[in-house]
């Protein structure tokens, strides 16, 4: 039995169906991310878990009890708000103690729990400050400490890092993961930032138009997206539309207008349609000056596409190239800059061969 089971939950606002018959199981101690574009219903789902919205139908089982109709203040669940929602008239200490006082905890226990929380999020010495005397990062820590203080069974985090700058966000991601591992608590995070979800979560649920379209580990989500929409939503990808021309022991040949015939290894379950898209991530497309030797991909079949470098974007760790094929289509390739000097770099206007193996391709139904 999972800790949290969401069963056929639906919620509409007027005619807008925000969450549509969604089911999901979350295990105890898991770091789960709900990822999706804005308006996909992920925040509504989180608010239903917190109790701020009541599902129109379906059940939310926490440890076996249906909490769908339970009021927010009676749920063993806490939420960290996107804008932190710190009480501006209370000090850091009183903000953290707020939920403990409501739980009727003894004064001495409150003091020791607050001290423990302050140490946990490294806010020592700031206990007497008011929220407006804190930096953005410090406020985020207060909000985290406040939501953890009651030791909820599930902690809900609504875009917890959206208000921080990039450097701080990255270090905070690490701290959140570390904290979650140490406390063994169940975290459910809502984010629109796929890198954030991939970095932190053990499993990611991708939402679109109120439905869960895929639940997978970060690696599976990226390397084996369940649909073309997910493939395009998560990371960059090259897509070629075409028709299945031949099919022999796990190997498809797809004929495309833009890139000619492509050899693709078939995933499980096999595609049933004839009209498909071949997808290849840019970092799996290699460039070379002349056609690679036929054994460059080991035992695998290699797809070769001839073209001209259209433009070059140097990004530090990687360089991203756009190669224009004879058909006019563009293939994106990104290559790690493993050497400091640019002996391997290609220049705009240069003729190159873009190549990739059959195993690196995905075949997706359109």
């Amino acid at each position: 039995m999972p800790l949290l089971r969401i069963e056929g939950v639906a919620k509409s606002f007027g005619n807008f169906r925000a969450v549509d018959k969604l089911s999901l199981d979350i295990r105890a101690g898991e770091f789960f991310a709900l990822l999706g574009p804005s308006g996909c219903g992920k925040t509504t789902l989180l608010r239903m878990l917190a109790g701020f919205e009541t599902p129109d139908e379906g059940r939310i089982l926490l440890g076996g009890n249906d909490i769908a109709q339970v009021l927010p203040h009676e749920r063993p669940v806490n939420m960290m708000f996107q804008n932190y929602a710190l009480f501006p008239h209370l000090s850091v200490r009183d903000n953290i103690a707020f939920g403990l006082k409501r739980a009727g905890m003894a004064r001495r226990d409150i003091a020791s729990r607050v001290a423990e929380m302050v140490a946990l999020v490294k806010l020592e010495g700031l206990e007497k400050r008011k929220p407006d005397q804190l930096s953005g990062g410090q406020r985020q820590r207060v909000a985290l400490a406040r939501s953890l203080a009651r030791r909820p069974q599930v902690l809900l985090l609504d875009e917890p890092l959206a208000a921080l700058d990039k450097k701080l966000r990255e270090s905070t991601q690490g701290e959140l993961m570390e904290l979650q591992r140490r406390l063994g608590m169940t975290f459910i995070i809502v984010t629109h930032d796929q890198e954030e979800a991939m970095t932190m979560a053990g499993r990611i649920g991708v939402m679109d138009a109120g439905r869960l379209v895929q639940v997978a580990t970060p690696r599976n989500l990226y390397e084996a997206p369940a649909s073309r929409w997910i493939a395009e939503f998560v990371g960059d990808i090259n897509l070629f539309n075409g028709q299945v021309a031949a099919r022999e022991n796990g190997r498809l040949t797809v004929s495309t207008a833009e890139a000619g015939r492509l050899a693709v290894s078939e995933l499980w379950p096999p595609v049933t349609k004839e009209v498909v898209s071949v997808a290849i991530r840019p970092e799996k497309v290699k460039l070379s000056r002349r056609a690679p030797a036929s054994d460059a991909g080991g035992s695998q079949t290699i797809n070769r596409l001839e073209g001209v470098v259209a433009d070059v974007n140097y990004l530090g760790g990687v360089t991203s190239y756009r190669v224009r094929l004879e058909s006019g289509a563009v293939v994106r390739s990104s290559m790690a800059n493993t050497a400091r000097l640019d002996v391997d770099a290609y220049l705009a206007g240069q003729r190159v061969v873009a190549w990739f193996t059959a195993d690196d391709c995905l075949v997706l139904e359109q």
Partner: protein, 271 residues
Amino acid sequence: MAHTVTRLTRFNMTSLALGLAFLYLPIVILVIYSFNASRLVTVWGGWSLRWYHEFFNDRAMLDAAWMSLSVAAVSATLATLLGTLAAIGLARGERFRGRALFSGMLYSPLVMPEVISGLSLLLLFVALNAERGFWTVTIAHTTLTMCFVTVVVQSRLATLDRSLEEAAMDLGCDPVRAFLLVTLPLIVPAIVAGWMLAFTLSLDDVVIASFTTGPGSATLPIRIYSEVRLGVKPEINAICTLVIALIAVIIVIASFASKLSSARGESAAPL
């Protein structure tokens, strides 16, 4: 909020001085003449506190002042209570049927000519056969000033983040306690400012008070008005100076209250 510092040019200084003079010169003259020793209002006869002394021995005038202050205090308190509840209803209530009508009607005293409000209240009190005096003026002033309190408190509530109340509920408060522990402390400055505004409005009012008051219970403005019709006594200057001083103190407190509320991270009530 960024404060842009503009240097005062000579032109700006002049227009500022002229503007302030236009607004405050009559008041300054009134204040100076309240210390005039002469019996004639327009002739300067040296400094004296004679007219203040006279006011504090003028039984009728003191009664009127006491009447005004108590009407202002009671009506401001009632107006603050009702106005705050209306503001909460409008800002936080679900979109109930007739909400637009309710809020429109609530604000009507802001634009209604006072003569009409006064007359209609008089007709009501006559119809109810109510004895006119302290309570009729107080009720009339409550209806006049309540909408001002609502405007001030509602605009403060509108700037408050809804998620603060949600956070309180998430941390174990039922909706009533969430309001008392989180929302109320944050809107107290606006409520105080609203009370101050209601108090000064009630203290100022002549028109509605003269419709709704009865014999023997004149408020200070009515008393002053009737005295002035028989000719201005320097004593009036002294009374007016005291009223100005009282209102100045209240305005300073009210602006501190709204400063305090802006210091709490949210934007202040407009005052």
